[in-house]
């Protein structure tokens, strides 16, 4: 509400009096971006999204003063978005956690304790849980933002030391379906090509991705390509929401949420029926699959697709989809010299996310739009080290470092041997995947959990349900982070960590590229790098559990200086031992090489010589990929040596259309989808503390289609109740030609209880990838009042 009349008069009175006396009553302005001079520029990569922009941090008198892009980097060519230009402001932020904080009961206030006490408590509680409830009563939940060295060391101590595969991380929530798609279609995880394909592509197929906002610097390259070749390059965007990405597309396919599988199969139908497929490529390199073991024929694939004529698909997809649009999209895709697809959460965060990934790969495989310059089926990641740290470093419950599956005895024993620990030490059974892990927390099966660098209390779907478990008094919860979050609110022990550029380590971005960030400034207060924390904790665990094997897991790292030597020793162990002979061979990407390269190294990079040239731009191509030459079994130019397909072929999948888990109905008639906005990132614990970014988007909105708004009497700024079977939010409305009619869209960064949209989303997940269907659930909306003054909100910590 506005000022009351009395308040107004009083304020006028005060202001008038103050101006007469020359007293200033106004608050100081927020700090603005300023010009700068730095003494030294230190190289690293950006802390935020998964693009992996190369940056330099300007340091003056030991303090960070600016960030700038590195012009000779092949990821960003010197460009940065505002997030990348401003994150240095977080280093000296007054909200930083600077001392270990502890409380026995979650009802108590936190009190400051020493590191010695903190590590003793963490070791004692984990040891107690293991002794009384067994190894699987403890868990680690990490992050695609932790350095590779950190994820690797955490999982080594958990698996080899504490004998549990309860090692998970937030990448389960964002790219597990992409992993599943790559493994099942190509036999090997991660994209075949690189960003460099963008400059060679003549058709872009962007589906389920608002890359203009979520990956702005990469999107710039797509736009540059399009604008420099307006007629020769086509951009197709398929998304239920009109976003800044769709505004630049030649063709926007706006379908109803959850109908993407039908659309993709219909495009394949057109390609097959119109003879636009690459018969030679299909014959040489592919097989058709119904199930993992069930091979089918081209004819069976063709007859399967007859269910997806453009007419039938258009009826399923609704929105603006017509049979002609599907035909046009399919023709552009197939006929272009080189087609590149890119997607993110719209495809991955689906009940059938793996299938959706498979169907995109299918389009590339049947048209041969792969391996040649500019052609690739390219999944974008949202976090800076989901690929490098978690996918490659063994950060999920079913995988070990170097793309090894836990359940394969041979691979598990390899890891045990390389670590020098007894065989059988790592359990043969994968641990709890993320949703199962937090369900186990709810059920009281997990007694101690370590949450590192992520905030599941805000980022899990159906968050209220899982927050109940995290709040249990019989669960001991450690959180390592740099700022208070919704998750530190539920912790027993909060450990302050060093931020990016306050420690040394490697991030691996979307395009198989590993980049080193070098420590430039000291962390504030008593904040420590995670690698030090894990090492010291493991040594105490070894004593508590009287188990020398735990000590052995960290023995190679004892006594190492923690800022540079310790991470390098961990990186060396991981790359030299664990990636040797694997498809993500990183032996050439030593710190020495990474420091020399302006933009890191793309694996496979088996030797320093190869790595110094930048590594491998395109996998599977002989002459370009050293492993394709090494594993060649015939004279063909492409060699699919990936570990998951014994026949060394690409698989074309027959995947039927399947809708979302929860469909709108009479009671909950709208689709709810969530996503990002350019200035905020993830749970806003970082971007929310940069005034320049917070000012543009101080709180989340619900986007409502103008036709729905008119029908429901909603005006811009009105307060709207968004309600599902699980929870509710109260958000201001943005009436906007964005979401398709019948769908609302909410940004998920806001930490305020009224606007924390994951209280409303659904926790259904893909049976293959176990990735939740954040992107679709049913909700209802109701106008509650006119505009309200809202304040931005960030979680704090009380001591």
């Amino acid at each position: 509400m506005g000022l009351s009349r009395r308040e107004f008069i009083k304020r006028t009175a005060a202001l008038t009096a103050a101006s007469c006396a020359g007293v200033s009553l106004t608050l100081p302005q927020a700090e603005e971006a300023q010009a700068f001079d730095a003494d030294e520029w230190v190289r690293g990569s950006c802390r935020l999204c998964g693009v992996g922009c190369r940056v330099e941090l300007g340091v003056k008198n030991g303090r960070p003063v600016a960030l700038r892009g590195v012009p000779d980097s092949k990821t960003n060519f010197g460009y940065l978005c505002m997030k990348g230009m401003l994150f240095y402001k977080l280093m000296g932020h007054p909200d930083r956690l600077t001392k270990p904080l502890y409380r026995k009961s979650k009802k108590d206030k936190f009190k400051e304790i020493s590191w010695d006490e903190a590590l003793d408590i963490a070791a004692r509680e984990f040891a107690k849980a293991v002794k009384t409830h067994g190894s699987d009563s403890v868990a680690y939940y990490g992050s695609g933002q932790a350095l590779t060295e950190e994820t690797y060391l955490f999982q080594k101590v958990m698996r080899g030391g504490l004998r549990t595969n309860n090692v998970e991380g937030n990448p389960r929530l964002c790219m597990a379906s992409a992993v599943g798609g790559y493994l099942t279609s190509f036999g090997a995880d991660e994209p075949i090509g690189s960003y460099a394909d963008i400059e060679q592509a003549t058709c872009f197929f962007l589906i389920g991705s608002n890359m203009a906002e979520a990956h702005p610097v990469l999107f710039r390259r797509v736009m540059r390509r399009k604008l420099d070749n307006k007629d020769a390059v086509k951009v197709i965007n398929a998304d239920p929401r009109i976003s800044p990405t769709s505004r630049v597309a030649d063709l926007h396919l706006q379908f109803e949420p959850g109908t993407d599988l039908a659309l993709l199969n219909a495009m394949a139908y057109v390609i097959i029926e119109e003879g636009l497929y690459d018969e030679k490529f299909i014959g040489q390199y592919t097989t058709f699959r119904m199930g993992k073991k069930e091979e089918v024929s081209f004819e069976e694939y063709r007859s399967f697709l007859r269910d997806y004529t453009p007419e039938r698909a258009a009826a399923i997809c609704k929105g603006n989809i017509t049979p002609d649009k599907i035909r046009t999209a399919a023709r552009w895709f197939a006929k272009s010299n080189a087609t590149m697809s890119m997607w993110t959460m719209g495809i991955n965060q689906r009940k059938r996310g793996v299938w959706a990934n498979n169907l995109i790969h299918n389009l590339h495989i049947i048209t041969g739009q792969l391996m040649k310059p500019g052609a690739d089926s390219f999944s974008l990641t949202g976090q800076p080290n989901a690929c490098g740290g978690v996918r490659e470093g063994g950060g999920l419950c079913h995988i070990l470092p170097g793309h090894r599956l836990v359940k394969k005895d041979k691979l598990r024993h390899q890891v045990e041997d390389l670590w020098g620990i007894p065989r059988g030490r790592i359990p043969a059974k994968p641990g709890y995947h993320t949703m199962a892990m937090f369900t186990a927390v709810n059920q009281g099966k997990i007694k101690a959990i370590w949450i590192n660098c992520t905030s599941p209390a805000q980022s899990l779907p159906n968050a209220d349900l899982y927050r109940k478990g995290m709040a249990r008094e019989d669960l001991f919860m450690v959180v390592t982070d740099i700022f208070p979050t919704k998750t530190t609110e539920l912790a027993n022990l909060v450990l302050p960590t060093a931020f990016h550029f306050e420690k040394t380590g490697v991030y691996g971005c979307t395009e198989r590229r590993s980049q080193l960030t070098w420590k430039a400034v000291d962390p504030p207060g008593e904040a420590k790098p995670e690698v030090w924390i894990v090492r010291e904790w493991a040594l105490r665990l070894a004593k508590e559990l009287d188990d020398p094997v735990i000590a052995k897991c960290v023995a190679p790292f004892v006594g190492k200086e923690e800022q540079y030597e310790l991470p390098e020793a961990i990186w060396n162990e991981y790359t030299q031992k664990l990636t040797k002979g694997r498809d993500n061979d990183l032996r050439g990407a030593t710190y020495r090489v990474l420091r020399q390269r302006p933009d890191g190294v793309q694996w496979p990079a088996p030797t320093e010589e190869w790595a110094l040239k930048g590594g491998t731009y395109k996998k599977f191509v002989r002459g370009m990929d050293p492993l394709a030459d090494e594993h060649a079994k015939d004279e063909k130019p492409y060699q699919f040596y990936g570990p998951a397909h014994p026949d060394k072929k690409l698989w074309i999948w027959l995947r039927p259309h399947k809708g979302p888990e929860e469909m709108p109905d009479a009671e909950f008639p709208f689709y709810l989808s969530t996503g990002r906005v350019i200035d905020q990132w993830h749970t806003a614990s970082m971007t929310g503390r940069i005034p320049e970014l917070m000012r543009a988007n101080p709180y989340a909105y619900v986007e409502v289609n103008p036709r729905d708004a008119k029908r429901l009497g909603i005006s811009p700024g009105d307060m709207i109740l968004v309600e599902s079977r699980r929870g509710r939010n109260l958000l201001p409305a943005k009436v906007y030609e964005g979401p398709v009619e019948g769908m609302v869209f909410v940004y998920w960064y806001d930490q305020h209880e009224d606007r924390l949209i994951n209280r409303v989303t659904k926790d259904a997940f893909d049976p293959g990838s176990k990735e939740p269907e954040f992107k679709i659930c049913a909700c209802r909306i109701k106008r509650v009042s006119g505009p309200k003054v809202l304040k931005p909100y960030l979680a704090s910590i009380t001591t």
Binding site: E213, V217, P244, V677
Partner: protein
């Protein structure tokens, strides 16, 4: 108990001059500045009704304009809810529709904007504009203003993360319509 009404430091010119300037605007529907101080009875109703507290009364430093309403868009811009024009009892703020509002015209300072300087990628002004794709469009990813559609609400100024000199941003609102001459 009489106090001399001398302008406070930082306030230029005589106490009769219009306070309106770059990023300091009148609410929607305002009459010309030549008439404003005479027509406005300083009743505060527009200040009172503004749900965002965008409209503030000018203080005594603004001489004869003290008590008249203004919007400092860099601090809190106008969100175009159009409530103020409904409550003005004197017609100083005339009843107009959202899209007819002309508080001023946004101008991007290409020498300050990081995108135009080719130093970074920022589209915040475009993203926050309530008339996105009408009042602010993108030319090869660089934002530009469409004069015919810009309401001068200042949401872009408020959102702009780049600071120029003297409290300005990379995009600023110029009150070109505030005078008789400006309205032509």
């Amino acid at each position: 108990m009489v106090m001399a009404l001398t302008p406070a430091a930082g306030v230029q010119g005589s106490l009769l001059d219009s306070p309106v300037g770059v990023n300091l605007l009148r609410p929607p529907g305002a009459v010309e500045e030549e008439l404003f101080p005479a027509k406005c009875i300083r009743c505060g109703r527009c200040v009172e009704v503004c749900p965002y507290r965008s409209i503030v009364p000018l203080d005594a430093r603004y001489g004869v304009h003290a008590g008249t309403p203004a919007v400092f868009v860099a601090k809190i811009p106008c969100y175009l809810c159009m409530k103020c024009v409904e409550v003005c009892p004197t017609g100083t703020l005339r009843r107009i529709a959202l899209k007819e509002t002309r508080m001023g015209l946004a101008e991007i300072d290409k020498h300050v904007c990081v995108t135009w300087r080719d130093e970074g990628l920022c589209r915040t002004c475009y993203n926050v504009c309530p008339l996105k794709e009408e009042a602010i469009k993108l030319d090869e990813l660089r934002p530009y203003i469409v004069e015919e559609a810009c309401t001068g609400c200042g949401i872009c100024v408020h959102g702009c993360p780049v600071a120029g000199e003297r409290g300005r941003k990379a995009v600023n609102i110029h009150p070109i319509y505030s005078t008789r001459q400006g309205r032509g």
